[in-house]
């Protein structure tokens, strides 16, 4: 004797409507659990997308060269001889262009200095580089032009400034062509960076960019902080990396004293970490689903007790134990499904609100989390109703009917 699915649905639905208070209670518990999962994974996913987006904005097919080896070596000949890593020099940077895999390079020098005009002055991060930096980092020029394409070693007194620096030093006045003082030197403003282009570590709006040779003079150093290298294509990244390491080893008397990281590797690492983080917060949120499950079990037990007489009657009318079990589980299934859907809607709405309030954080629960939340919710609902349902199925009809 199998119940018709339509009958089962209708019967369960009316049973739920017959006890609105407990139905609402369980729906709320379920909805909170599911929306917590959806919302937290949305946040995790948002953070992941934000960070990977930031890294992608560093540039495409990017390699970053910096002095020193990142591998932790215990004792090797260089430590024995008390050597320190050699600096990267402009000549090193220039040499990198010899590779077929390298499209362009941008040597970087970083320091901070006082930038002033008339009586206005502030401390600013100074970036020394060349004209290719603009394209490598996908920045945009708002007014004027970027650094001139001259020999790397020519220290011309020109500067490109961020929009915020412009506003602070010049206010409403015209800045292009004017002179500013950086440290003890004078520079002419030849360009202003667009407001777009924020990326990790550097706020473009608050930066002053000068030719790398000028920066070396300014900070009195012959070394470079980094060299940014753009490979010709994605496939050229690995050959470029190998070339850079080999070339610099050769130039540094056989010492492998530079580190080359590829943007892909960094990106993948962050991606892995943040995906793991998303799983973790999703898992934590899933605990609230388990709590909802326990609540469902309790309320279902009460429901079965409340409806003892009804269950006894159904048995007298010829309901098999399996049918009673099915009826109770159908109720639980319906509750979980409705609660989970409500929670899903709530979570999506929450993610939407987060996106509206914090546009830079693309909070959007990934598909797997939606599916998992739904599946776990329904599974918990069913699992925790199994005990009450079995109790109902085993009820002694005589005792149930007489209400003893």
């Amino acid at each position: 004797m199998a119940l018709h699915s339509g009958d089962l649905r209708r019967f369960a639905w009316r049973a739920l409507r017959g006890f609105p208070a407990r139905t609402l209670l369980m729906l709320t518990a379920m909805a909170i659990g599911v929306s917590a999962v959806v919302l937290l994974t949305a946040l995790g996913e948002g953070a992941r997308r934000y960070v990977t987006g930031e890294f992608a904005s560093l540039g495409t097919n990017l390699l970053i060269v910096f002095p020193g080896r990142s591998e932790t070596a215990g004792i090797n000949p260089s430590t024995m001889m008390g050597e320190t890593p050699r600096d990267l020099t402009l000549d090193d940077a220039q040499a990198l262009l010899r590779s077929h895999s390298v499209r362009r390079i941008a040597p970087i020098n970083v320091g901070s200095a006082d930038v002033s005009r008339q009586r206005r002055s502030r401390e600013v991060v100074i970036l020394g580089s060349n004209q290719d930096l603009l394209d490598i980092r996908h920045w945009e020029i708002d007014q004027g032009r970027f650094l001139p394409s001259a020999d790397l070693t020519s220290a011309s007194p020109v500067a490109v400034i961020g929009d915020k620096i412009r506003a602070e030093l010049f206010g409403a006045e015209r800045a292009l062509g004017e002179w500013i003082r950086i440290g003890d030197r004078r520079f002419r403003v030849i360009g202003i960076l667009g407001t777009e282009g924020r990326s990790i570590g550097v706020d473009v709006q608050e930066t002053v960019i000068i030719p790398v040779a000028s920066a070396q003079q300014l900070f009195n150093t012959a070394s470079l902080f980094r060299i940014l290298v753009e490979a010709k294509s994605r496939d050229a990244i690995e050959p470029a990396k190998k070339f850079i390491i080999d070339l610099l080893q050769q130039r540094h008397q056989g010492e492998r004293d530079v580190t080359v990281i590829t943007q892909d590797a960094v990106l993948q690492t962050f991606d892995r970490i943040l995906t793991a983080l998303t799983y973790a917060v999703g898992g934590i949120a899933a605990i609230s689903l388990a709590v909802a499950g326990i609540l469902i079990m309790n309320v279902m037990l009460v429901a079965v007790t409340q409806r003892t007489a009804e269950i006894g009657l159904l048995k007298a009318l010829g309901a098999t134990p399996r049918q009673i079990l099915t009826l109770i589980l159908a109720e639980a299934l319906m509750l979980s499904a409705i609660g989970a859907s409500a929670g899903m809607a709530l979570g999506q709405l929450g993610s939407y609100l987060i996106r509206v309030v914090f546009p830079q954080l693309p909070a959007q629960a990934p598909g797997w989390s939606l599916l998992t939340a739904l599946a776990v919710a329904i599974l918990t609902g069913l699992l925790f109703s199994l005990l009450p349902a079995r109790r109902a199925a085993r009820l002694d009809p005589v005792l149930a009917l007489t209400g003893r």
């Binding site: 006894g312 009657l313 048995k315 009318l317 010829g318 098999t320």
Partner: protein, 226 residues
């Protein structure tokens, strides 16, 4: 035909073993009209529950229409209850959130009958009990007598052979009680076996066969036939 032989039903109450039914043997022919009377706790309800397969005997055998039903599984007993036995209770036991028609429909629904086949049977059962105009009312919108008529419609909608009534008039005033008895007797005249537990001697006397229970035993069957 109902054949009970040497039926015992005992309950453990504390340290004591209480015999609710003590060696009861009984044969009830098809179409019989039987009343069971006796003081409270004499075992009449237990006997009715046993006949209705709501309870299992501790010992003895029970054959219903030639089939030994004591050995059946819970599942098979449920099927027998669904097809062959109708119950009418003192407390009506209607499901409050369902309409009269939906309450009547329940046994057919549990039998897995498709909705389009159920509808005419439900309508016929309600019509027979003159409850057609109340079919969409919920139990709390019906009087006691009307509720019991809905309950009877539910009991007979599967056209069972046996109708078991446990104090069917116990919660009704005299007038509705009389009406209910008359309905049950009409059903019996059409061939259904009617077994009724009652406290009311007047009701009990209307039955063609009267059983009296004392302390779990049948004591003297004052019946008109045998």
């Amino acid at each position: 035909m109902i054949e009970l032989s040497h039926i015992r039903r005992s309950f453990q109450v504390g340290d004591q073993l209480v015999h609710a039914l003590d060696d009861v043997s009984l044969v009830i022919e098809e179409g019989a009209y039987v009343s069971i009377m006796g003081p409270s706790g004499s075992g009449k309800s237990t006997l009715l529950n046993l006949i209705g397969l709501l309870d299992r005997p501790s010992a003895g055998s029970y054959r219903l229409n030639g089939q030994d039903v004591t050995a059946l599984s819970d599942y098979e007993q449920a099927q027998v209850r669904n097809r062959s036995i109708g119950f009418v209770f003192q407390m009506f036991h209607l499901i409050p959130r369902l309409t009269a028609a939906e309450n009547v429909e329940l046994p057919l629904l549990l039998a897995g009958m498709p909705p389009e086949q159920r509808r005419p049977l439900v309508d016929a059962a309600l019509a027979e009990l003159q409850m057609t105009d109340r079919s969409r009312h919920r139990p709390d919108q019906l009087s006691g007598g009307q509720r019991q008529r809905v309950a009877i419609a539910r009991a007979v909608v599967t056209q069972p052979k046996v109708l078991l009534a446990d104090e069917p008039t116990g919660n009704l005033d005299q007038h509705s009680g009389a009406a209910v008895i008359s309905i049950l007797e009409t059903l019996n005249r059409r061939g259904i076996t009617l077994i009724m537990v009652t406290h009311d001697p007047e009701m009990g006397r209307r039955a063609r066969r009267r059983l009296r229970m004392v302390d779990g035993r049948l004591s003297g069957t004052a019946d008109g036939t045998a």
